[in-house]
């Protein structure tokens, strides 16, 4: 096969991008050093910090709400509609809205990104809990369990797969969008993507690679967590099904 260098030119940018991640280099504008493990780790840490704060806030709000609604089997309309409406939220409008109407900085940015995580977490918590087999709940009641006990020891464990699917969707929504925090007062890997002048194409592509890898890593971690949290009986039942 005759592949001219032109066809593979784009590979050079990817090579340069990895080089940017592992080695410090002079900025496009000169006189200062950018890239390298130190800066990359700092920005990655920042990116994760914002992600976990927002995911934590979203989970703290949406999970109890969804679980309680599911337990009471109330508010189905609201829970399902919220999940659907969540998909229609334009991320850029959300961050602009928060920046202009509330303010910038870590706290405000956390609110904005938490909003992206709430719909899937709440909807899935509702669906997961409300679909728990009635017989299992009745059996627990027969054994003398009451409201909170039933939720914690019967419904939550049985709903783990659905709930975790919601948290995973929420987490991906958040970590994928957190780069926009770099427009609103918080450094993240978005600094690289938005700073083409100083970081060059290699910096921009490095930022994109890092965000993609980070998302993948978070997915894998949450999948493992889901595996750990799922009751053994449920795993066996699934494997058998």
């Amino acid at each position: 096969m005759n592949i001219t260098p032109l066809h593979l030119a784009f590979l050079n940018t990817f090579t340069d991008a990895f080089n940017f991640i592992f080695h410090q280099q002079e900025a496009r504008t000169g006189q200062t050093m950018v890239g390298g493990p130190h800066q990359v780790l700092h920005l990655t840490g920042q990116h994760l910090k914002v992600t976990f704060l927002a995911l934590g806030a979203a989970t703290a709000i949406a999970l109890p709400a969804g679980v309680v609604l599911g337990h009471l089997r109330r508010g189905e309309t609201f829970a399902i509609a919220l999940g659907n409406a969540g998909r229609a939220v334009p991320e850029l409008a959300l961050i602009a809205f928060v920046a202009a109407f509330i303010g910038v900085g870590l706290g405000n940015v956390t609110i904005a990104f938490a909003v992206l995580g709430i719909p899937p977490i709440l909807t899935n918590a509702y669906v997961g809990i409300s679909q728990v087999d009635r017989n299992a709940v009745e059996a627990a009641r027969g054994m003398g369990m009451r409201g909170l006990q039933i939720i914690l020891r019967v419904e939550l464990p049985l709903a783990v797969p659905t709930i975790m699917a919601g948290i995973r969707t929420g987490a991906v929504n958040i970590i994928a969008t957190v780069a926009l925090a770099s427009l609103a007062g918080v450094s993240t890997l978005g600094d690289l993507i938005l700073g083409r002048n100083v970081y060059g194409d290699q910096g921009v592509v490095a930022g994109a690679i890092l965000i993609a890898l980070l998302t993948l890593a978070l997915e894998l971690c949450l999948a493992s967590l889901q595996w750990l949290l799922t009751p053994r009986g449920l795993k066996l039942a699934r494997a058998g099904a």
């Binding site: 309309t77 609201f78 910038v104």
Partner: protein, 327 residues
């Protein structure tokens, strides 16, 4: 059925929530001022349409912030008035993207600040303070590449370190070097790339020896918002910003006593082949139409866009009419 209605309701609830949340402060439009001070316009300024230019295509580029939008629109409308067949591409993200678009032939030219061109594109360590000297240096770099530039505009723009006047008084600072021993308590805001630029954070650290409590990246549209809300103690501003001009007492620019913020005058950067094919009216029109762009006028035009929220294209037309370049 259930799903459909509930979704619809949720969607409207969402919209309603948005509207309520902001508390509709419906105030009548009040910014449609029809400036009519054109009667005394100098008719010698009038750009005449030359039939020889018909059918010659020129694509005007600009970067994506207020001052560049206005400049791009002024040049585009002026060239159109001179009879050229004008297209525009006024949303080029940064100097890297804009200069590459010129090299790739996607645009015929765009306005670039001499300081930015020399430092960011050509890697110069220092930029001459004199506009003509900076222009000459830019030409030396552009000519061998088959490019060229037209004369600089009268106005210049530069980065500046700004704070609320109340904060500056409280700290008792008037120049940047006064911040020594105080900067470690200050939160600095600037564009994301400011962190790595010598005409920004790097210069403040290396030349002035300042360490700030934090550096926070924001979209350039939010640099005044963060000062107003008290989130930023200091922010990197542009000297031609409309907000400075509208609120002269509210903000204070600290004097750059060690000269890390070079001022730059925009020059029209273009390629020599366009100059050849477009004929003499190309350069003549651009250099003529920018003559009225003094510091005060440029601030006024920026204010019409940034404060009065008028359309950059409409503001460009107002400028051309008020100065008598078009009728």
């Amino acid at each position: 059925m259930v799903t459909c209605h509930s979704r619809l309701r949720a969607a409207f609830a969402f919209l309603a929530a948005m509207v309520v949340a902001i508390g509709v402060a419906a105030c009548g439009g009040g910014d449609n001022d029809n400036d009519t001070g054109t009667s005394g316009a100098n008719s010698a300024n009038l750009i005449k349409s030359n039939p020889a230019n018909n059918g010659i295509q020129i694509t005007v580029g600009s970067k994506n912030f207020t001052e560049e939008y206005i400049l791009g629109n002024i040049y585009a409308q002026a060239l159109q008035a001179a009879g050229y067949d004008v297209k525009t591409n006024l949303n080029l993200g940064s100097e890297v993207i804009a200069y590459k678009a010129l090299q790739d032939g996607e645009i015929s030219g765009y306005p670039e600040y001499t300081s930015t061109l020399l430092e960011s594109i050509f890697g110069a360590k220092t930029v001459p303070a004199d506009a003509q000297a900076a222009y000459a240096q830019a030409q030396q770099q552009l000519q061998p590449k088959g490019e060229t530039a037209f004369a600089p505009t009268p106005f210049a723009d530069a980065n500046a370190l700004g704070m609320l006047t109340s904060k500056a008084n409280e700290l008792g600072v008037t120049k940047i070097s006064d911040l020594q021993g105080k900067s470690q308590d200050l939160n600095l805001y600037g564009s994301p790339e400011c962190r790595e630029r010598t005409d920004c954070l790097v210069g403040l650290q290396d030349v002035y020896g300042l360490q700030f409590k934090s550096f926070n990246p924001v979209d350039i549209g939010l640099r005044y918002t963060v000062l107003d809300k008290g989130q930023a103690d200091a922010s990197i501003l542009f000297t031609s910003d409309a907000q400075l001009f509208a609120n002269p007492d509210k903000y204070t620019l600290l004097q750059d006593d060690k000269h890390i913020f070079p001022a730059g005058n925009p020059i029209w950067v273009t390629d020599q082949s366009t100059v050849q094919t477009a004929g003499p009216d190309y350069q003549a029109t651009i250099e003529k139409v920018q003559k009225g762009l003094t510091n005060a006028v440029m601030q006024e035009l920026n204010a019409r866009v940034d404060i009065d929220k008028q359309d950059p294209a409409a503001v460009a037309t107002q400028y051309l009419k008020e100065d008598g370049y078009i009728q």
